[in-house]
Point group: none
Chain length 206, copies 2
Amino acid sequence: MNDLQWDVIGNRVRSARVAAGISARELARRIGVSPSHVSQVERGIGAFSVPALYAAAREIDISLHDLFDPPQEAPPAPAPATLQDLDADGVVQRAGQHPTIQLSDGPRWSRLNVAAEADAEFLEVIYQPGTRVLPDYIRHEGREYGIVISGALDVEVDGVRTTLNAGDSIVFDSQRPHRFWNESEAEVRAIWFVRDSEPGDAAPHA
Amino acid sequence: MNDLQWDVIGNRVRSARVAAGISARELARRIGVSPSHVSQVERGIGAFSVPALYAAAREIDISLHDLFDPPQEAPPAPAPATLQDLDADGVVQRAGQHPTIQLSDGPRWSRLNVAAEADAEFLEVIYQPGTRVLPDYIRHEGREYGIVISGALDVEVDGVRTTLNAGDSIVFDSQRPHRFWNESEAEVRAIWFVRDSEPGDAAPHA
DNA sequence: AACACTGTTCAGTGGCACGATACATTGAGT
DNA sequence: ACTCAATGTATCGTGCCACTGAACAGTGTT
């Protein structure tokens, strides 16, 4: 009967825990077990009891169903037109091939997704030194995710400003007033993902 | 730790078993435990282990979610309070602060969004040289957007493979079989955005 | 009188779910 | 350099409880 594969379940626990942003020790404390045991479980050399598993699933925000039977597609059915060539089929886009917009006296935007999509934009943005602030840019529903690849980017969100250095990331709702500029001497390179969401389907969890 | 109330769970097991029309002995035989143990569990003076509970839930046709009480509802929605500090308020996350997971013999994931979100992940992934493919990682509905920051990443989507060099980007639906690995001598750094979408509102595409 | 089912009881045990305590590593702050 | 405070991991050990086995009693059949 013991056909449960604790190692893959442990992997899912670890993934969900990291996704929830808590450490193994913190999880252990919350569910009342020792850190070593959490480590063992996540690496497949131990297993949670039912109460521990239930408590853990709560803390790391994963349903028991997803722990045991993660959503997976049916292999026979999909047949979504097999790809031929990743470049020709619009999956891959090469550096330098991205459609680019150079705003006058502003940053340079390159759209990284090949085909335009209604509700999502994947962008590389280059802010030249001294790039001026865009006064008030389009206000839209959604959420923005960014990471600075190189350089130092000055940001202001909701009236609060800070400086993002290489590796720093930022996430905020688009309706907050926000602007970015580059006060440094070097150009700034950043990756942005902007998702437009219809009002009403906001993720309803803590 | 939350003391699971085994008696009420046992009651649900019994109800579901009777509703499924099988005897306790039959259930015991199917899940590989003794009849006495099933009896004890159903009367709350014993408890199933995780594998037994999982197997039992299958046999008596009840979801694990229904076995345990409806967990809990989310706390009241926070007001859109004005931000005070971009770092403290979970908008900005500094380099090196990202929660990171190192899969054994696999890539290293860092979550770039500060708080976990139900339907979106913003990730930096470092593929060490020679990183092997993880065959059985979580398969989800949605769409993935990636750009290689440095190094050369080998990708295979829908059975077609190519190599992404620095600056190359890729976008595809998650349900296409896909994997990534690093055949080069240098580590690869990439930024990913993975959006999970509930089946049903998928954007129509080829 | 057997059967053939049903669920229940209870003493007993083996395994594993767990803890205590170590260690290695990394990043931040002297 | 040296802490200090985190992180995850390794190893050894043990107490408990998930489970068994063999009994028990009841209810219909034939």
